[in-house]
Symmetry: D2
Subunit: 344 residues, 4 copies
Amino acid sequence: MAAEVGIINITGYAGMELARLLFRHPGVKVVSVTARSGAGQPLSQALPHLFPLALPVTTDPGEADLLFSALPHQSSAQALLPYIQKGVLVVDISADFRLKDPQEYERWYGTKHPAPDLLAQAVYGLPELHRAAIKEARVVANPGCYPTAAILALAPALKAGIIGPEIIVDAKSGVSGAGRTLSLDTHYSEANENLSAYALEGHRHLPEIAQELGPLCGEALKITFLPHLAPMTRGILATCYAPLVPGRVAPGEGGKKELLGLYADFYRGEPFVRVVGYSPQTKHTWGNNLCLLHPTLDPRTGRLIVLAALDNLVKGAAGQAIQNMNLMLGLPEAMGLEALAVFP
Amino acid sequence: MAAEVGIINITGYAGMELARLLFRHPGVKVVSVTARSGAGQPLSQALPHLFPLALPVTTDPGEADLLFSALPHQSSAQALLPYIQKGVLVVDISADFRLKDPQEYERWYGTKHPAPDLLAQAVYGLPELHRAAIKEARVVANPGCYPTAAILALAPALKAGIIGPEIIVDAKSGVSGAGRTLSLDTHYSEANENLSAYALEGHRHLPEIAQELGPLCGEALKITFLPHLAPMTRGILATCYAPLVPGRVAPGEGGKKELLGLYADFYRGEPFVRVVGYSPQTKHTWGNNLCLLHPTLDPRTGRLIVLAALDNLVKGAAGQAIQNMNLMLGLPEAMGLEALAVFP
Amino acid sequence: MAAEVGIINITGYAGMELARLLFRHPGVKVVSVTARSGAGQPLSQALPHLFPLALPVTTDPGEADLLFSALPHQSSAQALLPYIQKGVLVVDISADFRLKDPQEYERWYGTKHPAPDLLAQAVYGLPELHRAAIKEARVVANPGCYPTAAILALAPALKAGIIGPEIIVDAKSGVSGAGRTLSLDTHYSEANENLSAYALEGHRHLPEIAQELGPLCGEALKITFLPHLAPMTRGILATCYAPLVPGRVAPGEGGKKELLGLYADFYRGEPFVRVVGYSPQTKHTWGNNLCLLHPTLDPRTGRLIVLAALDNLVKGAAGQAIQNMNLMLGLPEAMGLEALAVFP
Amino acid sequence: MAAEVGIINITGYAGMELARLLFRHPGVKVVSVTARSGAGQPLSQALPHLFPLALPVTTDPGEADLLFSALPHQSSAQALLPYIQKGVLVVDISADFRLKDPQEYERWYGTKHPAPDLLAQAVYGLPELHRAAIKEARVVANPGCYPTAAILALAPALKAGIIGPEIIVDAKSGVSGAGRTLSLDTHYSEANENLSAYALEGHRHLPEIAQELGPLCGEALKITFLPHLAPMTRGILATCYAPLVPGRVAPGEGGKKELLGLYADFYRGEPFVRVVGYSPQTKHTWGNNLCLLHPTLDPRTGRLIVLAALDNLVKGAAGQAIQNMNLMLGLPEAMGLEALAVFP
């Protein structure tokens, strides 16, 4: 019998993307969807493109085997708390359970952590690094969109000890990453045909990246992470730079092959990471759960360059959440996530 | 009496942008426009948006005081050669006269330099660095779009000796930078809603950047320059990273102010460089000749970050060419280039 | 056992969309894909986003139960002819078998029909109008993207006799409708942020529309069909205008409800037509096989207005082709086409 | 001495476009700019792209020879009233003085007209139709963006009596036409790659169109006007359809030439209307004050088709306002508006 799942806050982009993807998932049944406003109306009224999912929008997720929360941070942990206590499995797409250190949370989110006791049992839901733990977890913190790209891009090189700690992640995201809340920055006429960096003071995804990559590095990481807003709806491209440790990778073409081999080995068998021999395009992941990785080197400077492309709403949010759900429920990891990218 | 100028190869984007900008220039008169095909037809037929510029398209620029060439490299030097020999002033938008070293040219462009004897007299047309020489020059090599952004972004810090030689320039360009030649990469359905890095083997603008920035640095530069194609028509954002030399700039807010001050001093009085206290948006330069610069630092890692935004077809090509022309003709430097950005 | 199908000319947008959609189709197996160039290479090299479809690109579709052709007109009929003669089922996405009258074909396509004898047995593959015939057909002519929208929009009103023959179809299409062949009109920098009408002399989809709608109208149709190119990758919106026959539909709100009822009745049970009570957005069909219809009236003038939105590559091409295939193979009509739209 | 002008509500798109265009106007000086919020800050802080315009943002336009108002309707008339009474010339970009009939205003805007006594003296500011009156006017009502396109497209044909009253205007607008107020419809991720019709119940620009075109038609007009939102920042394309009166225009190519001649005659000498022999593209007017018109006919149905393209923020708002100002101040009509379109 199919497991029953609920989606808390379906009206944001991650929430509606969960609904879209779960609609074709043969192993689970969406039994409830909630929203902070508009409760009572049929889902097809709130979100016409989801009309075949004949459910009312409620404020209470009710009984379910597993709950996804796509609420903003703080509200998310608060909403999930009673369900976690009842033993319901949860995948939290917000940032609430990502950082192990509640003080780090407070530093970046400007508020006390709403449930610090739960942090120890929460698992950072990046299956490529934490698959075993996710399978046993009751609370999974779904990674941020940028961290998914950056961590997948850099973990193999750090683990292999071929790069030093001086890392730069220059990331570009489509506008849906900024969510559905209205703002002048995401107003069509201002975001369109425009490109700029933001969060120059430090982006909340930085501590996640540092938390996950730090232990893989022999020294103290020195990461600069700078996100940019690009005029497209979906897609993240993270361009990562780090100095190669001298003598560990051959210079020139030989080194490029070594890198491809190293990355291919690291991700062998992974259903949603593809190491490619060309510069990946974000559009080749439009709507699906892939992360495309291309490691290469700049022979003039001895730097590693890794390009990571993914769809911020799928592998960067809802798709990865379902991947985590599959692991938690003992279902095949790729179930419901097999779609090819919509191209062009 | 207004000087007479000609535009060689008006049918590319730089050529037609020259025509657009010169149309309102009170100090010069466009007397000829050429194209590699379509000669004989009126300009308004080849390029309807230029219809008030009532000129026939020819293959021969004829008599003029100054010629702009917007031809591709190699053809450009070949076409300009006879005019240079006759003493006509030229501004070459192609790469042919940018690199001082003909071997470096051959390495990057795969062909012998068509006029190596002229390289010594050609001036690299970045007015902010070479104004005096441009005023005296007969051959000005108009800088590439990326180098304009990267050099303006990094020159002050290198000259002040506050950064080391380990530089990364992660640049993002709109699609018009790839020109008007048809290709699958610039086919609407494939470029739209897509973002990717290109020229991973090394981009031809790298040696220009190195040539101009190298002498400003005490040590041998180690620059990685990686361009990206962004789904917009115009605009370049160059995000530049370099390690701050310890002890030269205060950490934190104080250091940010120092950097703003240093850059403001460096560019004081410059009509087309604006040092700003916020993250610049490419769209704030749409259609005009500005380069917006924002220097800041990442206090967590002690890195300098400089953001440079400009319109690749204006300050990155045709506008800068006119700025150079103004200097060569003894006209006010900003003449004809006063327009504000078209926003939104 | 799953039926085996081949895709002729996978490298165009309709061809690759067939591959994308068939990848998740549980009832058929893609056994061959052809291209006019690039034969011999693996599909994942030609079209990286299709990499899980591990097939070589060939020039010969080989043995299959059913073939799709996504070739241009004329070549398509020529390529299909030997297979049709062998009894292979075919769905032709080109225009070759759409028009019943070979002279009409010659008038619009400027060439003699390559297989006029087959026209009698070919069925126009719009399931909502010709489902029974499609089930029995061996040759199905998949409708054009615009005709799919226009015919679905107008058939109910014409059949009910509530509108006169003076019809205007003002249609707007995304750029992928112009295919993958390079042209200045579809060059990113020129198509982006631009909108224009085209085919003012008459578009080849007009005779299809007339052929299908003509018999539903009591009088001689007088249709103007004017297509426009809109700066987006996918999507068609057809805005259809026709005078209401006086006295047949109540004026005002009552009439609007009657129209919604009439259309809902006409399309009752249709899996891929949805009659909606609001102005449909093309983006609500992004990547799926839906046609959204909204009939309403302009009470000031007594005109019917019908808005039809669909994805030109799915319901307007590959999705409808699969719908036809399902009918021809006796599979459930919606099999493989259940996906919700990718939004946003 | 240059006339002094003020801009009321500079922070909307029409207001900032006024500032952009007036910056290069040699005949007037902007002496004040107001905003509903943010008063006291320098303009360069509120709108960085206008930084060379060194003015503080105020709430009071102060002394000026002429005031532009870019406020929303109702507030606009209220704000202008005292200045009109003092004899200051005004160009109102809002709808407040466009409709001659205060009851029609109340019907469409849902509020009593704030200054019905002034309607008699206000002139509808479409110079191509009302030039003489504008020159004498003290209050000019700047036309809406859609009406500018629709009226210019249809006036010649109606005046010549070659079309009947059954008119359809299918108009497509870029998103800036919806203004700077935030909404889900203009949120980047929802407006991008999307196209839909809106205002199906009737758009407020309809009565303007009817008021201006009605008197040119011998019979009672029956106009349907349907606007669409297209995924681009600027640009309007109005596609207009009307039945040709039998016998007045030759069928086929001859008739097309007659139409071009008729339109060329009607607009002879007009600085900002260009009658063209091809399908006009909105992008050919990007940032400038042109309206491109292409009249043609559909020989199959005997319908007139007229395409009108313009930039909704220039000829559709701020540019036309300056054209009106020039007329009111006795300046050359095209002063400050000579710029070519920014293309691509």
